[in-house]
């Protein structure tokens, strides 16, 4: 057999808008916000939060970036894969991580309701106050990146780990 089979994937869609070039001050503020929000948070936890929010918000570019960053930082493929079903795979995560993931979901899906007391209180049990405030900020910031990514249709697949550090 000499026939070589090549898989035909759907074409990549171009981005809608190069928002950072059109709004450089906005982009600069986002970078400042990113730097400020990650202070005092465990980097492993931070990537889990970023990945889970990006899953819920369907941000392909963000998933590409943060799964690659997480893997590069030594995160296991198993924990990344199981994250979208974390309620059924709790034994892959620490209680603290689970509290953070739960809070991530509540703050991300804000249009369906408020942040429930039990979710907030659960997080408050595992995070001391200043750290909890940073976690809320971090969840907010990935939601912001998700919104830029999805709205301007930033294309996934081209991210090299560490590129945006």
């Amino acid at each position: 057999m000499t026939t070589q089979e090549t898989t035909e994937y759907a074409p990549e869609r171009p981005a809608r808008l190069r928002w950072a070039q059109h709004a450089p001050e906005v982009y600069k503020a986002m970078l400042r916000l990113e730097t400020a929000a990650r202070q005092g948070l465990d980097p492993t936890l931070y990537e889990l939060v970023k990945i889970r929010a990006s899953q819920i918000n369907h941000c392909a570019f963000c998933l590409d970036m943060h799964t690659k960053d997480a893997l590069t930082a030594g995160e296991s493929a198993e924990r990344i894969v199981q994250l979208s079903a974390w309620e059924e795979s709790k034994h892959f995560y620490t209680e603290k991580e689970l509290a953070a993931i739960e809070l991530t979901e509540a703050i991300t899906v804000l249009t369906d309701g408020f942040v429930p007391d039990e979710v907030y209180d659960h997080a408050a049990k595992h995070f001391e106050e200043a750290e909890l405030a940073q976690l809320i900020a971090a969840i907010t910031v990935i939601n912001a990146w998700n919104r830029f990514g999805v709205t301007t249709r930033m294309a996934p697949g081209h991210y090299t780990p560490g590129q945006h550090r």
């Binding site: 059109h22 001050e25 906005v26 503020a29 400042r32 400020a36 309701g113 405030a133 900020a137 939601n143």
Partner: protein
Amino acid sequence: MSRTQILDRAVGSAMSALSAAAKRGLGDPALAELVVIRASQLNHCAFCLDMHLTIAREHGVSEKQLDLLAAWEEAGDVFDERERAALALTEAITVLTEGFVPDEVYDRAAEHFDEGRLAHLIGLVVAINNWNRVMVSRRIPPGGYTP
């Protein structure tokens, strides 16, 4: 359990810079308030609604527009085409968990805003979504804003 009132100073300052840059680049303070109020309605942010309804009135946004904003699609000519395009985009960007930002919504906005203004409009929707999240999560009560 009461909720934390902490917002790290560097975080708050970057969020303010983001809002200010977006608003400046959009260059339409009245429209900016309509956008910000609509997102705050969808995200149920009482503090943000209280604050931005006050600011909107300062900018001369009409009571009619504020009253009908939650039902802008059915509000006839209370909102012009440009405002409607901006509000549709605001809703799509805010309710991200239910789907993507549809082409027709994005394209409609792109007809009314050039790329620079559009990038800032998107930035503004993101910026108010940020405030909505930090205020609702920490359950900050309305009324804290004074002009």
